[in-house]
Point group: C2
Chain length 231, copies 2
C-alpha cells in the first residue's frame, strides 16, 4: 500500500530537467524532512494525513491510466516518494511505454531507483533548515548513469548558493539545476514579479561566478498560476 496525497495531470512540468514537458504527477504522502519553505506541506505534515489515501499498486496504476490513457512521463513526487516501493508500478508503466521520473531529496536510497528513466535529486540548502546526509545522497545516484540524473537545488540566498556549488562540485558528471526559491508558498497573490526578480539575481550570481555548468530556472507553473495546487 502507498499513501497517496494526489494523482493529477496531464500538466506541464514547470521546473527542472523536464521543464516544459507534459507529465502526470503521483504525489505520495509523508516526508522525512520539514523544509521551512515546503510548497507541498499538504503531502508532508501528518496533520493532513486524513486526506491521504492508502492505495494498492493496481489502484495507483488505474489512476495514472485514467489521467492519461496514452503513454506519458509519470513524475513520482511527494512528500518523499522514496518512503514507498514503486518498483512494480514502474515496471508495469514501462510495459505500457510510459516513462517514469522521480523528485526526491536523496535522503533514502532505494534499489528500485535503478528502474527509473530519469531522476531528480533535490538536496535541501541551509534556508530549508535541513541537514544533508551526503553518503545517502550519493547512494541514491548509484543505479543510474549520470546523464539521467539531475541535481535540483533551491537557492534563496548566498548561503544556499554556496551550498549548491559545494554539492555540484561533489558530483561533476551530474547536471545541476538551480531553482529560484518561492518563499511564500501559501500566498495566492501574483508572484511573477517577485520570482522574476529573484531569477535575475540568481542569473547574475551564476554569471559573475562564471559557473557555466549550472542551469538556472524558475518554476514556470508558479509564474503562470501562482501557488495553485494540482497544476
Amino acid at each position: 500500500m502507498i499513501k497517496i496525497s494526489e494523482i493529477f495531470g496531464p500538466v506541464i512540468q514547470g521546473e527542472g530537467m523536464h521543464i516544459g514537458v507534459p507529465t502526470v504527477f503521483v504525489r505520495s504522502g509523508g516526508c522525512d524532512y520539514r523544509c521551512s519553505w515546503c510548497d507541498t506541506m499538504y503531502a508532508v505534515d501528518k496533520k493532513f494525513a486524513g486526506e491521504w489515501r492508502s492505495l494498492t499498486n493496481d489502484q495507483v496504476l488505474a489512476e495514472i491510466y485514467h489521467c492519461s490513457p496514452r503513454p506519458i512521463l509519470v513524475t513520482l513526487s511527494g512528500g518523499n516518494p522514496a518512503l514507498y516501493d514503486f518498483a512494480d508500478i514502474i515496471s508495469e508503466l514501462h510495459e505500457h511505454r510510459y516513462k517514469v521520473t522521480i523528485e526526491t531529496q536523496g535522503s533514502v536510497p532505494r534499489s528500485w531507483f535503478r528502474l527509473l528513466d530519469t531522476m531528480t535529486i533535490s538536496p535541501k540548502p541551509p534556508s530549508s533548515g535541513m541537514k544533508t546526509d551526503f553518503l545517502k545522497l550519493s547512494e541514491c545516484m548509484d543505479g543510474l548513469p549520470p546523464m539521467h540524473i539531475a541535481l535540483k537545488i533551491v537557492v534563496a540566498d548566498d548561503a544556499d548558493y554556496d551550498y549548491a556549488k559545494h554539492v555540484a562540485d561533489m558530483f561533476p558528471a551530474v547536471r545541476c539545476f538551480l531553482q529560484v526559491c518561492n518563499p511564500n508558498p501559501t500566498s495566492n497573490g501574483d508572484l511573477a514579479r517577485d520570482l522574476l526578480g529573484r531569477l535575475v539575481w540568481l542569473c547574475d550570481r551564476v554569471l559573475q561566478d562564471k559557473w557555466f555548468t549550472a542551469t538556472v530556472l524558475p518554476q514556470l507553473h508558479v509564474l503562470m498560476y501562482g501557488n495553485k495546487r494540482g497544476i
Copy 2:
C-alpha cells in the same frame, strides 16, 4: 570574413533546448528570411548593415575569448548564421573545450553543421509570413544524431500550432520545443503578463491535444528583462 551584428555574454540562454544555461552569443548579420515578428531585425534588415562589422575568424574568436576566457557554450545565431562558414571557428573552440550550438531556421544546409555539439532548427510558422523548404530543412539535420538536434517553433495562433504538429510529425526522433510568440518585439513595456497568458494558452492546447512529446517554453530573458538587447 563574417558579418557580425554583435558578440556578447556570458548571459543565460532564455529559450529552447539550452534554457537556463550560461552562453556567449555570436550574432551574425544578414538573413534570407523576413519574419513578421522578427525580434532581431537589427541583425536581419540591410538598413542596419552599417552597424555590422566584417571580422576574420581570429577576430571572432578573440571576442568570444574576451567575453569568456573560460570554456562555455557558444551560441551561433543571427540573422541566419548558416550564411557564413563557421567551420574553423568551431574547430578552434573545441580545441579549447568550448561547446558550440546554433540557432538557424533550417533554410541553408551547411556541411559544417556536423561539427556542432547541438543544433536548434527553428522553421518559421505561417504567422511569420515565410514558407518552409522541407527538403532543405531535412538536409540541415543530416549531420547530427537526432538527440543533439531540437526543433523550436514559435506558436502565435492555431495555424502555427497545426504547422508545428506537422513538422514534429515529420521528424519524430527530434525533440520539438514550442515557444510562445513575442508579438511586439520592439515594445519596451512589461511583457511578462502578456507572455505568461500566452504560455497558459499554449500549455492548454498541447495538453488538450495530448501532444506529450512536445516541450512548451517561454522566453525567460523576455520575462526577466523585456525586449532589451544584449541579454
